[in-house]
């Protein structure tokens, strides 16, 4: 049970199609300030179903599409973006009878708003189906296994009740 790769299409600073192959074990992501490292973290949170745009450092979902600029009329540039997470499921940690499972979540501009779509192995899915599969596998955007930039101290400072909930989630 692990990630095999990520695929981005016009997500935040990743223009066009980008594949991020991920090995088992310990992968370090590095680079200069502002290069796009935390945008990779945001992409994963996006697929896992982060409800809060604020957690993705976006005021609204349009900002997740490559090329979104403040105050521009945004006539040119991509009108959509998507992120795929490909999991190794040989141990069936996800309740699906397949050795490999791909979750794809995408946003399309629709007028002044956005529409979100979901694919499970390329087949139309829903936020609900993603949530069901992820939670059964113990994967949450707010899980103890994900620390966003600046938040590592939070784990030792969270309230006693919140910490108990984190333990209950695992139980």
């Amino acid at each position: 049970m692990r990630l095999l790769e990520l695929e981005f299409e016009n997500f935040k600073s990743f223009k066009g199609h980008v594949t991020v192959p991920l090995g088992p074990g310990f992968t370090c992501i590095t680079g200069p300030n502002g290069s796009g490292k935390s945008n990779i973290t945001d992409a994963i949170l996006f697929v896992l179903g982060s409800r809060s745009n604020k957690l993705l450092r976006a005021r609204n979902r349009k900002q997740l599409i490559y090329g979104f600029q403040e105050g521009s009329k945004k006539k040119t540039g991509p009108k959509s973006c998507k992120v795929s997470m490909v999991f190794d499921n040989r141990d069936r940690f996800l309740a699906i009878e397949k050795d490999q499972v791909t979750f794809t979540k995408g946003i399309k501009l629709r007028g002044n708003d956005t529409a979100t779509h979901y694919l499970l192995d390329g087949i139309k899915s829903s936020a609900g189906e993603f949530e069901a599969l992820f939670s059964r596998a113990g994967l949450y955007a707010t899980g103890y296994n994900i620390i966003q930039q600046g938040d590592v101290i939070q784990t030792s400072l969270m309230s006693g009740t919140e910490r108990r909930h984190k333990i209950e989630d695992v139980a």
Partner: protein, 165 residues
């Protein structure tokens, strides 16, 4: 339900003692139930004592010390029930030179049992990892990735900066 929780809680509390002792080289840490008789009516508190120091309330600990407590807690839960992957964005932001080494090595050890994706600006993390992905942004404002094969060459090509301690 309560006995299930207590089983998990006790197991995590044990792992937490061990992982904190390892990360800090001798420190002691444990969990405490605020309400021992009815666990669900109270929260779970952390007590942590750094090596060669007395026991202080966890909020009094330094930024680096709190980071180590947080990491030990994460490893403790992993010990009980590993997550498919761990995604840590700059967990070593507060750490001095010695502690970035300790945490780099600790993550490397834990990564035998689970996949770790760690964003870091510290050399120790790069050296301990199995794989380094370099992210760069060109003047066109587009992010690009490079697999960094030779970590040492990559590191020596950068302006050397360092943490103290």
């Amino acid at each position: 339900k309560e006995s299930k929780f207590m089983g998990v809680y006790n197991s995590i509390s044990e792992s937490f003692k061990t992982s904190f002792k390892e990360i800090t080289g001798g420190g002691e840490a444990w969990l405490v139930l605020e309400n021992e008789k009815s666990p669900f009516e109270g929260g779970v508190t952390i007590k942590a004592r750094m090596p060669r120091k007395k026991l202080y309330p966890v909020e009094a600990l330094s930024g680096g010390e709190k980071s180590l407590v947080s990491m030990a807690f994460i490893f403790a839960i992993q010990g009980y029930d590993p997550s498919p992957f761990y995604l840590l964005d700059e967990p070593d932001q507060n750490l001095d030179g010695v502690n970035t080494e300790h945490i780099g090595r600790a993550i490397a050890l834990q990564s035998n049992f689970a996949q770790f994706l760690v964003v870091s600006l510290h050399h120790a993390a790069l050296r301990e990892s199995d794989n380094v992905i370099g992210v760069f942004m060109g003047d066109d404002g587009v992010s690009r990735l490079h697999q960094i094969i030779d970590v040492d060459t990559f590191l020596s090509s950068l302006p050397v900066e360092a943490e103290v301690g």
